[in-house]
């Protein structure tokens, strides 16, 4: 949604392509299947258009839905269109995307400018994006509008060729949201001796604004026997008091002109938002209260591997290249101050605030085919 528009270099537009994509996410009680197609075409080597269409089908009952009886089933449709224009050493990009599900509509526009300089060793990029979200709450067939959220983001990046084997980059992005920023299905809980469970629920109250800053540094190194090793680190901080650190390491190993194998490890850790608590001492304990697990202190670790096979390594007729890829990831989520109150409570011997900390694993499978023209 936010972030830099595309990853093309400023000097040359990428090849024309068509991709079909399938994904499956299973974990935390959720089962999400995704399908997507992408088409990209360039004209006179100076102008290109890219269109994507995604459909995600979500079903399951996550930890946040306390009653096992209500299983979510929803469909999200997203369409993106992106334009790129090259003039000399400058690339201009403009894109629009729209995402629609029963209770959430999001529109985004983004623009960026990339400039190659100093013998094409340096690429400087600046960009901005605007988003408009409409949030509703669904209860059976009834959909109640809850509010709107506006988003503004600004980004700047510098990519530098350091040696003939090493490339590095630094990117900064500042995002500000304003409006209805919480999830209408989430609630907070507070200690309540009058309730049989020992606790009770009340709606979340979030600040109406949020400003965040993220800085990412990356490096990629060419290993002499033809392979690439990469590392990236992102630091995140925002006005809600969340601090996030992301470290990602990757290794790419090609085999002749046919195969590319890749492995990656991602480590993430975040501190909680300053208005977050798993269990407040009483009703209306603070001005702002939240219990969304996305705002909790947590960690997650991902291990992923992918294999790409070129079934048309040198092209055939007007196809330049054809590949098929299988990508498998396993993520282990651990929460340091979010407890599983769906499966544990006074009824099975856990006092409020002493329920086990929540954790779950997710498996992601992606399969896609790409044809280059």
């Amino acid at each position: 949604m936010t972030g830099l528009a595309g990853t093309a270099r400023a000097a040359v537009l990428p090849d024309d392509r068509a991709d079909v994509f399938y994904s499956s996410y299973k974990g935390g009680g959720m089962d999400i299947k995704g399908k997507s197609i992408l088409v990209r075409k360039k004209f006179a080597e100076t102008f290109s258009v890219q269109g994507q269409y995604f459909v995600d089908t979500v079903s399951g009952a996550s930890i946040d839905v306390l009653s096992n009886a209500s299983v979510i089933k929803d469909e999200r449709k997203q369409k993106n269109i992106d334009f790129d224009y090259i003039r000399g050493k400058t690339q201009y990009s403009l894109g629009y995307s729209n995402s629609k599900e029963t209770d959430y509509i999001s529109d985004n526009v983004h623009f960026s400018l990339s400039q190659d300089m100093f013998g094409d060793l340096t690429t400087v990029t600046i960009g901005a994006a605007r988003g408009w979200d409409k949030i509703s709450q669904r209860s059976g067939l009834l959909i109640t509008p809850k509010g709107r959220a506006d988003r503004r983001s600004y980004n700047a990046g510098l990519s530098q060729v350091v040696t003939k084997d090493l490339i590095g980059s630094v990117t900064v992005e500042v995002i500000t949201d304003e409006g209805f920023l919480n999830n209408p299905y989430r609630f907070t809980r507070f200690l309540d001796p009058t309730d049989g469970r020992g606790w009770n629920l009340e709606p979340e109250v979030y600040p109406a604004t949020r400003t965040s800053t993220a800085v990412t540094t990356r490096a990629k190194y060419y290993l002499w026997y033809r392979a690439a090793a990469s590392a990236s680190y992102r630091f995140f901080t925002d006005t809600w008091g969340i601090r996030g650190n992301t470290l990602e390491l990757g290794y790419t190993h090609p085999i002749a002109n046919r195969w590319i194998l890749e492995g990656r490890v991602r480590l993430y850790k975040q501190g909680h938002a300053n208005f977050y608590s798993d269990l407040f001492p009483r009703r209306d304990a603070q001005n702002f209260i939240g219990r969304d697990k996305d705002l909790a202190a947590s960690r997650n670790t991902t291990i992923g591997a992918k294999a790409t096979y070129a079934f048309l390594p040198d092209g055939w007729k007007f196809f330049k290249r054809g590949t098929v890829t299988v990508d498998l990831s396993r993520i282990q989520f651990k929460y340091d101050d979010f407890r599983d109150i769906k499966d544990y409570g006074i009824a099975n011997g856990f006092a409020p605030g002493a329920e086990p900390l929540y954790k779950f694993n997710a498996t992601i499978l992606q399969i896609y085919a790409s044809m280059f023209f």
Partner: protein, 169 residues
């Protein structure tokens, strides 16, 4: 203090303008003697620039890993076939570090002009190649008359204009 500041600003701006100008120079008409060189062709024969004195020569620096270079090649081939009888030669100087990729590419997309190998990049350095691809047009007397950096569709017309002009000289 004020005077020093404003002259400092002016010299910064001048230096900045030169730097920006240097970065964006895509093509230029010049006149300097062409540095001689001798390289092996793909077939293994030694070919020297001096052999072509009396002809108009276009030296094109290219690589197998460079997309715009591949786009240019068929157009350069057409140019070579058309103007060869009028005293025009085209030398494709390849800068790949290893020959097998070059042989493989040319076996799939052959060209009729001589392809010379510059794996040590000595000729690329001598000609101050600052972009890929780069084309240098040398007149019948052995002087570099036109330098073109990069390739975008339509650039071949610039080459043709210069070639026709130099053939008539």
């Amino acid at each position: 203090m004020k005077r020093w500041n404003s002259s400092l600003i002016r010299s910064c701006a001048l230096v900045g303008a030169i730097a920006v100008g240097a970065t964006f120079a895509v093509a230029g008409d010049v006149s300097t003697p062409a540095t001689g060189f001798s390289l092996n062709s793909l077939a293994g024969q030694s070919v020297a620039l001096s052999q072509f004195k009396g002809n108009v020569v276009l030296v094109n620096f290219w690589a197998t890993w460079c997309g715009p270079c591949q786009q240019e090649m068929p157009l350069l081939d057409q140019m070579y076939k058309k103007y060869k009888p009028a005293g025009f030669t085209l030398l494709g100087v390849n800068v790949d570090k290893e020959a097998p990729a070059v042989k493989e590419l040319l076996s799939r997309k052959p060209v009729s002009f001589p392809v010379l190998l510059d794996p040590e990049n000595s000729v690329s350095r001598a000609y101050h190649v600052a972009d890929m691809p780069s084309s240098v047009i040398i007149d019948r007397k052995g002087n570099v008359r036109y330098v073109h950096r990069g390739y975008r569709p339509g650039d071949e017309n610039e080459y043709l204009d210069r070639i026709r002009q130099l053939i008539r000289e």
